[in-house]
């Protein structure tokens, strides 16, 4: 099975494919509209020398653009989630519940919290599918 370096376009493509092929996701996310930008703070001590900017877009159960981008692009997203690298890794590995992490201040969110919570099943499913992507994390190297 293929392995991907985290936060690369190939990794995003693999994640997108998982979501696109998932019938359960389509059903859970049938009401979701809008994009989510993920910003990973730099952490040189963990081999993340620069911030990472990702743009993911979802529409009524379909997946649209999944891009490694720049900061300007992330600011156009409906939701912007920002966290330290260590937190993102914990969320991606399901060691940290995303919604709980938001409320505990471990992830930051710009956007309508109530929308996220209403659609928490869709959020959790997207993260579940990420765990199926074989990932090499920067600090694993």
């Amino acid at each position: 099975m293929a392995t991907y370096n985290a936060f690369t376009q190939e990794w995003l493509n693999a994640w997108k494919q998982k979501i696109a092929e998932c019938q359960e996701y389509k059903e859970i996310a049938k009401d979701w509209e809008g994009s989510v930008a993920l910003i990973c703070n730099a952490d040189p001590s963990k081999n993340v020398p620069k911030p990472g900017y990702l743009f993911t877009d979802y529409w009524h159960g379909d997946v649209r653009d999944f891009l490694v981008c720049d900061e300007a692009k992330t600011q156009t997203a409906k939701f912007i989630m920002t966290a330290d690298y260590a937190r993102w890794k914990q969320v991606a590995k399901k060691e940290l519940d995303a919604t709980k992490a938001l409320m505990q201040g471990k992830l930051k969110l710009k956007g309508d919290l109530t929308y996220i919570v209403r659609n928490v099943k869709a959020v959790n499913k997207v993260i579940d599918l990420l765990t199926e992507v074989n990932t090499v994390w920067p600090d694993d190297v």
Binding site: M103, K108, L113
Partner: protein, 392 residues
């Protein structure tokens, strides 16, 4: 969450509490000085001013009060906050003091953000976007219900979106809450009852939330004891200053509890019926609480039953050795009985709610974020509709 080896949580409760009769005048100046502040804008509402609750406090401040912003409606909005912030900026305020209920407190919380960060409040919709402490905020509550004096959540109406938005910022938690029972003496009986039941609902829902944890549970249990003992005393004799004070403490403790552990089905349904029928939040919480408790118990989930059995002990209607399900049901009955004792409405129809309203509210409830924290997973709107119908 289970209280076992995997228990993991964050408890955040940084607000300094000052309690005492007359404390709103005796302690305010020294608390301002301790925060290094000398130019306060007071935020309040016309009702508080009319009741004469803010007069002594403003007089005490003297020159340290550089302005009073009282243009706060029952449900605050972004436009209100923006105006308040502009006013405070013009006065070069370095601290905000709120005197009032939830809407006043939330307005002041948001003004603090704009005083530090500038811009429009709409840009701050979200969670934990701030990276530094905000303009200091001292809260002097005049109701004993919302617990907003210790929470880091503000709810404001966004006219452009046509909905309320949440701003969740731990850096914006009020620095100090001054609980002065004298300020609640004139609260009318029905408002006393409904704000008190809001506090009770916060406490019980914090106990049963899927995010429950032991520190919040401790706060919640004592809040339950205090409300059950002192709320009837307050509604029978509004001048009972001891009872009024204990209710303020209950509301604050319940505020800490729900802010850390979240709320559940009662609040999802109360928000929704409130949006449709405009019945006050505390009233809808108080009516729906026992019905939602019954719903959670009827699933037979042992953990829910065990928790409600503990609630029953706090309510004084059970002991440790009682059979848990019987004790849980006793808790439900006691909430109904408490509502009767304090003159709180028992049915939604008493507040003018109709069948058509609950049909709409059932839909909205399923989309309310609070529902995901409920101890019993709500599978569909028919279940919610069933509860509304029993409560109608």
């Amino acid at each position: 969450m289970a209280y076992n080896n995997s228990l993991s949580f964050v408890y955040f409760g940084p607000t300094k509490i000052i309690f005492g009769s007359g404390s709103s005048t005796a302690e305010l100046e020294s608390e301002m000085s301790a925060l290094g502040c000398s130019r306060a804008v007071v935020v309040t509402d016309p009702g508080v001013i009319k009741a004469g609750l803010s007069e002594k406090i403003i007089k005490t401040l003297g020159d340290k009060c550089v302005g009073v912003f009282s243009d706060v409606p029952q449900d605050t909005g972004i436009d209100v906050v923006n105006r308040g912030a502009a006013f405070a900026r013009e006065k070069d305020a370095d601290i905000v003091i709120s005197i009032g209920g939830g809407s006043v407190i939330d307005t002041a919380k948001c003004m603090c953000i704009l005083l530090t960060e500038g811009g429009d409040l709409a840009n701050f919709e979200g969670i934990q976007l701030l990276t530094r402490p905000q303009t200091p905020h001292i809260v002097i509550p005049t109701t004993a219900g919302t617990g907003s004096e210790v929470t880091w959540i503000a709810v404001v109406f966004d006219k452009r979106k046509g909905q309320k938005i949440l701003i969740v910022e731990s850096y914006n938690t009020p620095r100090v809450a001054i609980l002065d029972p004298q300020l609640t003496l004139t609260l009318p009986p029905l408002l006393t009852a409904s704000t008190g039941m809001d506090a009770m609902t916060h406490a019980i829902e914090a106990m049963t939330s899927i995010d429950r944890e032991p520190i919040s549970a401790g706060m919640a249990l004592h809040a339950i004891r205090l409300v059950s003992t002192y709320l009837p005393q307050c509604t029978q004799n509004g001048n009972n200053i001891n009872a009024r004070g204990q209710m303020q403490l209950a509301a604050t403790m319940a505020g800490w509890a729900f802010c850390n552990s979240m709320v559940g089905l009662v609040h999802a349904m109360a928000h929704s019926i409130g949006a449709v029928s405009h019945i006050p939040h505390g009233v809808s919480c108080g009516i729906l609480l026992p019905y939602c408790m019954d719903y959670n118990i009827d699933d037979g989930e042992p953990e829910a039953i065990k928790i409600y059995a503990t609630v029953a002990q706090a309510l004084g209607v059970s002991t440790r050795n009682d059979e848990p399900k019987r004790a849980a049901k006793a808790a439900v009955k006691e909430i109904f009985d408490l509502s009767k004792r304090i003159g709180h409405p028992l049915k939604l129809s008493e507040s003018g709610v109709k069948e058509a309203d609950i049909l709409k509210a059932a839909d909205l409830s399923m989309a309310d974020g609070a529902i995901v924290n409920n101890i019993r997973c709500v599978l569909g709107k028919d279940e919610v509709l069933g509860i509304y119908r029993r409560a109608l």
